[in-house]
């Protein structure tokens, strides 16, 4: 049987899925053993037990200064920034994506500009961002939005362009105005793609969030990592990175689930990732 036709049975599939994770963990454990055999105080790859102990501590013990449990406080702060930033980016992305994809005039005006914007590395413009938006919450949210909006716009406008002409023509013969076609034909058809674009942008969004928190913040997951990085406290950094990854995964998973529920028509056939 050809490999393209061989579908592993459920139990094998589960084992296979676990394999790369297991290998990664193994590589860590071995690396950690080797390094600590050389230097028992090695901070770079602390023993897993140590990391887990430290993680438990971070998640339960209240900080002496503020009385908050640091992990939760940082999580709340970061998630809030992320949510606002991504929400802004998604709204802008949807709006401009439709404007560019659906309207030739919008396309003429904005397509090259957005392509240009998407090429500017936002990190290089950080000083200007901070001056314009201050150092408070706004600038962090703005950095996230600035960082991922161009991608979302380009992705969505491409998807709008890909709507078959037949559909747009049919909608016109059914009496739809440009606005109605935008609202009832184009928007609902790219909505699942918006969710997917957001899912794809979450990686960069976290990146920008962490970068912003490293520069100016007093809480947040990125702030904590930055703070302890100078002590090479990997026993703190690793749990934080795992936690960020878990959060990112949970968000991704919820978005996918949401998309399947809300946009059933887009998921009736074929597997998707």
């Amino acid at each position: 049987m050809r490999w393209i036709n061989r579908r592993p049975v459920r139990s094998v599939a589960v084992l296979l899925a676990a394999l790369p994770f297991a290998l990664t963990l193994l590589a860590y454990v071995v690396g950690s053993e080797v390094r600590r055999a050389e230097n028992p105080n090695d901070k770079l790859l602390p023993a897993p037990a140590e990391v887990i102990e430290r993680a438990a501590e971070l998640a339960t013990e209240p900080d002496r200064r503020s009385g908050d449990v640091l992990l939760w406080r940082d999580t709340a702060a970061s998630l809030q920034r992320l949510a606002v930033g991504v929400a802004i980016a998604a709204s802008l992305g949807l709006g401009f994506g439709l404007a560019i994809g659906l309207f030739p005039a919008g396309r003429s005006t904005l397509a090259s500009y957005v392509a240009f914007l998407s090429l500017i590395p936002p990190l290089a413009l950080l000083p200007i961002l901070f001056i314009v938006f201050g150092l408070g919450e706004v600038s962090k949210v703005v950095l996230i939005a600035v960082g991922i909006t161009p991608f979302i716009i380009r992705d969505l406008s491409q998807r709008v362009l890909e709507i078959p002409t037949e559909q747009l023509v049919k909608a016109q013969t059914l009496g739809g105005s440009s606005w109605q076609i935008l609202l009832r034909v184009a928007l609902p058809q790219v909505a699942p793609r918006l969710v997917q674009a957001v899912r794809l942008s979450l990686g960069p969004a976290w990146l920008f969030l962490i970068a912003a928190e490293a520069i100016a913040a007093q809480d947040g997951l990125g702030y904590r990592i930055f703070l302890v990085r100078r002590y090479l406290a990997m026993d703190v950094i690793l749990p934080y990175v795992c936690w960020i990854t878990f959060l990112a995964f949970a968000i991704d998973w919820s978005l996918r689930r949401f998309s399947r529920r809300a946009f059933g028509w887009a998921h009736t056939e074929g597997e998707s990732l």
Partner: protein, 330 residues
Amino acid sequence: EKKDSFRVAWSIYVGWMPWGYMEDSGIMDKWAARYGIDVEIVQINDYIESINQYSAGAFDGVSATNMDTLSIPAGGGVDTTALIVGDFSNGNDAVLVKGDRAFADLKGEQVNLVELSVSHYLLARGLESAGMSEADIGIVNTSDADMVAAFATPGVTAAVTWNPLVFTIMEMPGVSKIYDSADIPGEIIDLMVVNTETLADNPDFGKALAGAWYETMSLMAADTEAGKAARTAMAEASGTDLAGYDAQLATTKMFYDPADAVAFTEDPKLLQTMDFVRNFLFDHGILGEGARSVDDIGMAFPGGATLGDTNNIKFRFDPAYMVMAAEGKL
């Protein structure tokens, strides 16, 4: 112009931790209220960003070293006054090498450091003392946040950095310190600098800052439970514990007593130090916007002494507020 609300920025460093404590503990608010003003102290994680923000006008004051004050705000045309001379580095900055070696062994090697920072200056001074120059070595610009990880890689053999990174690196096996700021005492100075114009228009702002600072200083210096609690808070804010923080303080010459700070500022040696610094900056092409000569940017010192262009004084050491603190007139 006259105003009643001010913002100063600070970043995490052993000698500047009191600023964060002043904001958290309410000492700053207390002093600001005494003068009927409002002062907000904002922590910025990225040191350079905090100075840039100040230079761009987003803050009225910022914690900075003497060298960076000269090159960034003063060089950028923002007339700046050193309001409080908090401490100087007395071992906090160091040249670290792997193995038991000296400067002469570094010939031709790459040294990792934050280029154009006080580390760079320290290295230049160290090479000078060993009869070498920067041309003898190579420099790899390395971000401070990643210095410890960088030093842990096999390819990196020498680095210049500051605390707490120095302590963290020294914990690695086989690392030795070949030069540190204790070899050039008083040349790397940590200041609270403020906009000269703002200070002139609002002397209360200076008084409030100085008052709050020296109250914190005496609290910190005290060997009491309260003092220990304050230092513990500062330690934790900088991501370490009391022992770690005390170790850092040991290599920092804090001016707990304002009189000491006044004496340091009025010492003619300060002028000599700043002359070194401006020459270093000029040689590296970063003494202000297109500076054509080392004299382009003027500096004023206590007692009317100056360096450089007297028509373009942009950096002033003014002990007036520390004097007030020393004399208990705040």
